[in-house]
Amino acid sequence: MNKILIANRGEIAVRIIRACRDLGLSSVAVYSECDRGALHVRFADEAVPIGPSPPSESYLQVDAIVDAARRSGAAAVHPGYGFLAENAALPRACQESGLVFIGPTPEAIELMGSKTAARRAATEAGVTVVPGTSDPLGAAASDADLTAAAAAVGYPLLVKAVSGGGGKGMRAVSAPADLPHAVRAARSEAASSFGDAAIYFERRLTQPRHVEVQLLADHHGTILAFVERECSIQRRHQKVIEESPSVAVSPALRARLAAAAVSVAARVGYTNAGTIEFLLDDETGAFFFLEMNTRLQVEHPVTEMVTGVDLVQWQIRIARGEPLTLDPTRLLEPAGHAIECRVYAEDPDNQFLPSPGRILAMRTPAGPAVRDDTGVAAGLDVPMFYDPLISKLIVWGADRRQATARMTRALREYQVVGIKTTLPFFRWLLGRPEFADGRFDTTFLDRVLQQRNGQPFESRDEEGVRRAAMVAALYACRRSTGSSGDRGDRPGVGRWQRQARVDGLR
């Protein structure tokens, strides 16, 4: 296996290409029409066009991706996260074409992709699940069935899509009267997002934390668990900030979480990288299996930062048959603390609406213990077709306080113009006392955002506006003093530099 095709785009494709290069392997990118100039295409050794910009016509086309792998001579396919990463059709097609799929078996993906089947597997493995219905409630379920099932679970509850994920097809219900509407909404979202209208009910825990355990499993029977990730800071069920370790997890609890995660993975014969998500009751230390993600996660870097393990390299090594040689005890003893912010092309001051468009200029942060996993660059368009994640900013510190200070500093260094990003929102969030103290649960962010009631995140004072006016005037002044034949509408940078050289010659 010396050439790998990456069936993805954006920051995760760049991340995987880097792992390939670190291992001395060549990489093949695939790209849709609007992604010709994208960073992952520039980074890869080879690139294959796979179709028009809408994901359903390119990055979700199993045949196009397998064909691209065959034509480029790649021996393996890495799916990244999202797109086809949890679609068993891709590993099946890979098997049929003699390609190695860098991930679990199609059977494991299918089993854990059904939330009710996954809950059953966890129960069989002796792990407590969040109380809820054990079987899917299909479209044929009667209102009486639904009401009875809901009453058995108890309120407040969550209506969730059996084939769901990422917060889609999920509705909270606090009283029986709201059930029919929530079921209809969840069903229709689930049907359009996942092609499956089946739902189930789950008890809604009051103010739980979301913690999750990263796993690596090889083809020789070894399953290793990593120190937990804390992902409680969520906006509308979407993770916003992740960190490792969790302030709420003691070494003893960590060992129990790890053992539970390993037993679920063992039960389903899991291989490669995966993550078991739990809800944790802060006060009692009780935790409940939530679901398993059968892929690399967005937030994998925080685990890498506190353990020193390159998870993507290990995905590749496992896929080519190598046994895991990591020390299991070290994986549960985090060195320091890591925090990740997911930077989105969204306008936090306008209800987090997507903000696609051209990045006119940007500076990404750097310096001690700062990792910037960016999938964009200055001059590139952030397309409207895909996930708005443009970059993940990860920092490491000897302890949580140092990591927080570094993140605050890195967020200040980070500059983007041309599109709106969630950077101002993160600058605000990192300054909250609840964040500094680690006092939060999965309901925290939505609550404080509601309290803010649209108050802008970007701070602006008269002095700042005056300075901006001064900067604009100086820019215009310099822009105007070039040679007259050069006055065009194109960006003036080149001319500025020429003028600076002219000035230097005087």
Partner: protein, 183 residues
Amino acid sequence: MLIEVEIDGTVRAVSVEALGGLRFRTTVDGMSHLVELTEAEASRLSLLVHDPSAVDECAARTTIDALVAETGRPGELAIEMAGATFQARVFGHGRAWGARRRVTGVEPAVAGTEQVRAPMPGKIARVLVAPGERVRSRQPLVVVEAMKMENELRAGADAHVKDVLVTEGTLVEAGRVLVVLEG
């Protein structure tokens, strides 16, 4: 050179006086600064700002590290500095870079009484109208001289001159009301 910059719907007149090389004297809202500029990197302006009243030539300068890019719309710049982003529109004079010039110092529409203010500190070079006079839209009212540049202040719409509060040779601060118009 007097440059008008619109940010958040407010137009400010920024006077920029070249002092040779990449040194400038800027005046915004009546506040003057000595500024040294560097253009070492694409899309970036690094400014060192001196307090002009500081006696010590070697006193520490305030730094402004701004990312600046043209948006493609006439005269429009996207600026990020110290965690704040700004959309600025620059109005160009004559052949200068920027959006086409808009009326200086006058709100776009004259409704009721309109105060025409000095956009920057300067000297009244000429007064072109008298009280009671009928003026047309865009008719010059006063010429303010600053940094060796003459800047005409024009009427935003047809109006009557209600009052003229300055005479030729008067030194004015930024924001001072010069002429009052009545719609």
